[in-house]
């Protein structure tokens, strides 16, 4: 298969980054790294490969960079060696958008570093000035210290403060107010007033307060970014590990594998039995049965002929198909899904984030308080300049330092806790939405059940017959043969085996004819019909060896911890129901097994959204867990949504959380963590309110000095951050304790 090896190499060539004329580098997403020992193993083994110049594993985002001399080594050798070691690796091509986010994160950290440096130095000078109030520092020295502070503070504000100014200007342009508007106003006024104070040889300058404000608030921004960049890194690795590709037939007759995002509408792709159809299109040649469970939730197979539409994500079961691509891989042809999706996304838009709600309440309150202070002191008979200084002090001291940290600090700690239990957070505000849920709607196929198949009636069949069938199954590419082939002990397929598309495989063994395939192909229809009542949700594969016959009931099993997860969710006070696109028999069977009383079968994508709307109308906040394209609109319409990692692109894009691994129970743990996180967010917000209740009267009465402002601001920010750390405790034991 020299030809095939060449193709693979061609495909990987696009991922190489030239270092110099003889050396190139490739970045790989590596799966299966569990422990720190893997770092040493992988790096040592890679370095031992001939031609490898350098190998460095990034343990945080599970990526390996290997540089090698192009003449001596190839990327396929590197990947091959990794797979010998037991690691799956796929080349990783960073998307442009990631780079932009990376640049943004670096800018934020640099701004934070500069602000930290400035805050420390100005604080040093300020301490001198404050001490000078007691010890009698002369006015000339004080003014000198003020000017040095100004020299540091003004450039810092111009550099680090831009993060807030830009965002505030953006919001004002759109006629809205976000938290950055009062922040920017506070910073500007503090600096402006301090410069005037320094010019007049005054006593009180707020340079330290302004810079400290920038420093603490930037910590919040950096935390926020760090959470998002972690999600992006994991998501990019997953995309690389899926390594989705399609086989394209070129106009010159050649057939070659290309990355899925290289395919264009109008291309002709070839789909062999056992492969997933990568893109939406129309069948040009061939006929086959398709497993559409990822698209519709329906587990029964669906026959297609030339001219039929096929959808990305469906599994080709029996025949070779040539498909004319209609849409690039981002879209899907299920027009109603697309329309529903747009509508559902709009409907969710009315949710206002906790932080924005706080900002909307906060800004008018503070600005009114400052205005009233100014007018009040004016009426009292103070000169306008002094009244203005007091009013500005009110704005400085109420600047939402703690408020700005209250939510992002908790979000980032909670997202870390979620990651440890195997849940990836897609959206920052998803936590507060998840905390509010009181109902859950579950999809069946692929969500409650595993995407892979098992043989349900294996225990009822004679082991030697199973072994003979398993050996024959090795020769089949049909997905239904896969669980059987996995049982084969001697891995030697029959030399005489021949596969007939749509029917099955047959082989001659010592003059006997062995057959494995559909019940009709093996004359085992009566046996299959007998099993159909016992296993309503199964597909059947028959085997004949002379007179001996066996029928295997093959189905998607429930996830091992599905019952556990369902029980945990119920214990958390959620009312549960299953809404599936599958037939009612299998749905009922799953619902009974899990003890879920409410279920609905044969639901269309629109039907799922309708059910969610009905629950919403009852005043419920619904969590939707689903994986298929048919679930995508429901995922977007639900108050909050989750998808298993095996889900389709479309479902993953809509989901707020991704469940990593095969377990479902992290869904329940996520609810516990989210509730705790929300409680902490509320505590932090209340703390900020209480802080203002104490600080504002001091400022209004004119007693707030820069020293008071510095103590109050740093104290409240630290308190809020320390409180956020309490979100670390994982939700595992709590849920576990409630389930047997």
């Amino acid at each position: 298969m020299g030809n095939a090896a060449l193709q693979v190499r061609d495909r990987l060539e696009g991922f190489l980054k030239p270092v110099d004329h003889a050396t190139s580098e490739i970045e790989l997403a590596v799966d299966g790294i569990r422990c720190a020992g893997c770092i040493a193993t992988i790096e040592r083994e890679m370095a031992a490969l001939p031609g490898v110049v350098r190998a460095r594993l990034n343990f945080t985002d599970r990526r390996l960079r290997v540089a090698f001399r192009s003449s001596e080594a190839s990327p396929s050798q590197v990947i091959g060696r990794l797979s010998d070691l037991g690691f799956t690796a796929h080349p990783f091509s960073p998307v442009r958008k990631d780079d932009a986010a990376d640049v943004e994160q670096r800018r934020l950290v640099r701004a934070l570093g500069v602000a930290g440096f400035a805050a420390m130095n100005i604080m040093l000078l300020s301490v001198v000035v404050w001490a000078g109030h007691e010890t009698g520092l002369d006015a000339v020295s004080r003014t000198f210290f003020h000017w040095v502070s100004a020299l540091i503070a003004l450039p810092t504000a111009a550099y680090s403060g831009r993060v807030f100014f830009d965002s505030a200007i953006g919001a004002l342009k759109r006629g809205r107010i976000n938290m950055d508007v009062p922040i920017s106003l506070g910073i500007m006024l503090a600096l402006g007033m301090s410069v005037v104070e320094a010019l007049n040889h005054g006593e009180h300058a707020y340079f330290d307060g302004a810079v400290m404000l920038i420093f603490f608030l930037l910590i919040g921004r950096v935390l926020d970014q760090a959470m998002q960049s972690r999600t992006r890194a994991v998501a990019a690795n997953l995309a690389a590990l899926r390594a989705e590709s399609v086989v394209k037939r070129f106009p010159d007759g050649g057939v070659r594998e290309i990355a899925i995002d290289m395919a264009e509408p109008g291309d002709l792709i070839v789909v062999q039995p056992g492969m997933r159809i990568g893109l939406d299109g129309v069948v040009e040649q061939g006929s086959s049965d398709l497993d559409q469970s990822l698209v519709t939730g329906e587990t029964a197979h669906h026959a297609v002929r030339p001219g039929d539409h096929v959808f990305a994500g469906t599994m080709n079961l029996s025949g070779l198909l040539s498909v004319r691509v209609l849409k690039p891989h981002t879209g899907t042809l299920l027009a109603d899904v697309e329309r529903l999706l747009a509508k559902a996304t709009e409907a969710r838009g009315d949710y206002v984030k906790l932080a924005d709600r706080a900002a909307q309440l906060y800004a008018p309150f503070v600005h009114t308080a400052a205005l009233l202070t100014f007018l009040g002191w004016l009426a009292w008979g103070l000169p306008w300049s002094e009244a203005l200084v007091i009013a500005i002090t009110v704005l400085i001291i109420t600047c939402p330092c703690a408020l700005g940290l209250a939510i992002p600090a908790v979000q980032v700690v909670a997202a870390g806790a979620l990651f440890r239990v195997g849940v990836l957070t897609n959206a920052g505000d998803a936590l507060e939405r998840l905390a509010a849920v009181d109902a859950a709607v579950l999809d069946k196929t692929g969500t409650l059940t595993l995407p892979s198949t098992v043989i349900a009636n294996l225990g009822d069949l004679p082991p030697d017959l199973v072994q003979r069938a398993a050996r024959l199954a090795l020769a089949s590419r049909h997905p239904l043969a896969a669980p059987l082939a996995a049982l084969a002990k001697d891995a030697e397929p029959h030399a005489t085996a021949r596969e007939r598309p749509g029917e099955g495989v047959s082989a001659c063994d010592h003059g006997k004819v062995l057959k494995l395939g559909s019940a009709a192909f093996c004359d085992a229809e009566t046996e299959a019909a007998g099993l159909a009542t016992a296993y309503p949700d199964a597909s059947f594969v028959a085997f004949t060896d002379g007179d001996a016959k066996a029928v295997f009931a093959i189905r998607q099993p429930l996830r091992a911890d599905a019952a556990d997860a369902v029980a945990s969710l119920r214990d958390l006070g959620l009312s549960l129901e299953i809404v599936s696109g599958d037939r009612s028999l299998p749905v009922e069977a799953a619902a009974r097994q899990l003890g879920v009383a409410r279920w609905q079968a044969g639901a269309t994508p629109a039907g799922k959204v309708e059910r969610l709307e009905a629950l919403k109308a009852e005043g419920r906040q619904v969590l939707m867990i689903g994986d298929g394209i048919n679930d995508a609109p429901a995922l977007a319409a639900a108050h909050v949504s989750m998808a298993p990692i095996s889900a389709t692109h479309m479902a993953q894009a809509q989901a707020d959380f991704l469940l990593l691994g095969q377990r479902l129970r992290p869904a329940a743990q996520a609810v516990v963590i989210a509730r705790k996180a929300r409680a902490l967010m509320m505590q932090n917000l209340w703390f900020s309110v209480i802080y203002n209740i104490v600080a504002v009267p001091i400022a209004i009465s004119g007693h707030a000095t820069p020293l008071v402002a510095a103590l109050a601001m740093s104290g409240s920010s630290l308190a809020v951050m320390l409180n956020a750390l309490r979100a670390r405790g994982d939700g595992g034991p709590k849920v576990g304790a409630q389930t047997p």
């Binding site: 770092i39 040493a40 594993l57 343990f59 950290v109 570093g113 420390m120 020295s141």
Partner: protein, 51 residues
């Protein structure tokens, strides 16, 4: 008070040195693999491989 003339620039210079070191560390990728760095310290064999 004359002492301020050289003490102030000295203090700011030292602070600036710290800032420069931080920016250098960031640019050269010292913060890119925080989890890995924690584990590499306790690896048994000498970590001389990455060149």
């Amino acid at each position: 008070m004359n002492v301020l003339v050289y003490l102030m620039p000295l203090a700011l210079g030292l602070g600036g040195l710290g800032l420069a070191a931080f920016l250098w560390a960031m640019r050269s990728g010292q913060f890119e693999d925080l989890d890995g760095a924690a584990w590499r310290g306790i690896n048994e064999q000498d970590d001389d491989a990455p060149k």
